[in-house]
Homo-oligomer: 148 residues x 2
DNA sequence: CAATATACTGTTATATTATAACACTTTGAA
DNA sequence: TTCAAAGTGTTATAATATAACAGTATATTG
């Protein structure tokens, strides 16, 4: 399987992450993350299920959901709530304040890596008695191509 | 049934909205919206189903989902994506750029009516070739009470 | 090295959330 | 009064997600 460098880098980073933190980089985990890294679009859990299953070896939902939960918890994938779908996180460090853009017309989804977003949200929350630990923002509209 | 004024006001506004736009203010629509207005917490579709059903008259899922879809489309309720739940929109005019805060500890949910949010998002999106028509932001953290 | 605790997987079953499809009813306008 | 459109009722089923429990792999400790 041919991979872009950045993609295999990300997989390696995930592997190192597991080693460092004494988690296991198991086959289901590897396969789920690889798949999400190789696609640049959100996949539903049952799409992943189908893509990872062969006629001989059918995977079951919990196998996929466990891997998804693991990577999600550890900042390697995002759940797109409005789509019940998952994408590989494009930059690990932005995982806490995550923003995606969904084009209403072509349905393309892109993650926006916005340094300013979490800053903005902090500014918006003037009431310092609330502490924000995580945010997910889903923007809908039309993209450059659909817009011309 | 005793209601706060603002609550019945909101129901009236919804009624007027229907009259103005030639939509019907039918019984399922009224009951679903009333219920959501009377609670200050998110309700799942099947919770609504249960609350609106009596032993004699059991409501079916499509009845609830149709009412939910109607009010959602028309800006009277929000879907909280991360919870598969629905709440009455606290201010009609903010419906396009909607932000809620969910306390991780007590699970209380509050809608934030932030004049500045949509502005901020516009500022963040420097690339003017993208047009945002709607946004939903879900913030997670700990609230004032849980924070002390 | 064996015992054992822990993390993880495999499997079956089922819960939860949402929609398709079609017959019937209400409403307003021609 | 009939016709079209909007809306509801009902049955069935799709799509998404999790509980529960037995079994396996791995690292650790005695």
């Amino acid at each position: 399987m041919i991979m872009k460098v950045s993609q295999s880098n990300k997989l390696n980073r995930a592997k190192r992450f597991c080693e460092t933190n004494k988690y296991r980089f198991t086959e289901p985990r590897e396969r789920v993350l690889s798949l999400l890294l190789s696609r640049h679009e959100p996949l539903g859990a049952y799409q992943i299920l189908k893509l990872l299953s062969s006629k001989q070896a059918k995977i079951k939902p919990p196998t996929v959901y466990r891997a998804i939960d693991f990577w999600k918890k550890n900042g390697f994938i995002h759940r797109i709530e409005s789509m019940n779908a998952y994408i590989a996180c494009c930059e690990h460090k932005h995982h806490q304040n995550f923003c995606i853009f969904i084009c209403n017309q072509c349905n393309k989804v892109s993650e926006l890596t916005l340094e300013t977003l979490s800053q903005s949200i902090t500014n918006i929350i003037k009431d310092k008695s609330i502490v924000i630990t995580r945010s997910t923002t889903e923007l809908f509209g039309s993209c450059f191509e659909c817009n011309r």
